[in-house]
């Protein structure tokens, strides 16, 4: 959370509580970054060049949470001569609660 600074719902517990949150929460962009890193590791250039992801933030992550990223490949097709794969992706905390859920797609080059 050190990327968030010291104010707002991502850096200040009091600011977060004003919005009904229990305390400062991790930025959604940071959680998205972990999913993007997983997809880059999995698909490489096929994600950097033509990859897509769409996700919903369903539960907040807080400092000291341990999060893990997950993905499940689904249907594949051929698009412009390249194999295209659709995936389900999600991120869980240490209690197995889903924090981020979404879909992604990439090419297999």
């Amino acid at each position: 959370m050190r990327y968030s600074g010291k104010s707002g719902i991502h850096g200040n517990d009091a600011d977060a509580r004003q919005l009904g949150l229990g305390g400062a929460i991790v930025q959604g962009g940071q959680l998205a970054g972990y999913l993007n890193e997983m997809l880059t590791e999995t698909f490489g250039r096929g994600y950097i060049e033509g990859g897509e992801i769409s996700m919903s933030f369903v539960k907040s992550a807080k400092a000291n949470d341990v999060v893990t990223t997950h993905g499940q490949a689904g249907e594949s097709s051929v698009v412009d001569g390249r194999t295209h794969v659709d995936c389900e992706v999600w991120l869980e905390n240490q209690s197995g609660e889903k924090l981020v859920v979404g879909k992604a797609s990439a090419y297999i080059d």
Binding site: G28, G29, A32, N36, T40, G51, S54
Partner: protein, 145 residues
Amino acid sequence: MTTEWQDLEIGVETGRFSLLVTNEIIDEYVDSLEITHPWYTSPNSPYGGRIAPPDMLPKLGMDVLFQEYAGRVVGRNMRARQAYKFYAPIKPGMTVSAIGRLTDKYEKRGKRFVTFEALFVDEAGNPLVLDMRTQYVSQAPAAAA
């Protein structure tokens, strides 16, 4: 001056962003998020040198492109949904730019949401990253003093 919900203008420009991508910027970004993929931390990528994480530009540009406008005009907000489309690698030495726009507003189950969009491009106008984000509006902006 506050803006009433019904007066929020779809298509309005919400901010502009420009950045010269440097190794130092990439270093700071991957270090702060503890990202370790070798394509981002070393020259060992299939692109002839290191590249930046594909979502780095949206993260660096979000305040200027969307959040300053949202906080001032729309109200307190939280990320509800995020989508990206990645077109090409982001490399050190690139000068990138983007224009943010408010692309949608809607109410669902008694809650208000706004959607923003920005396409990051390189110097030649080639697309790099499309950032589409939906924010839940949790509190209207305070009236001007």
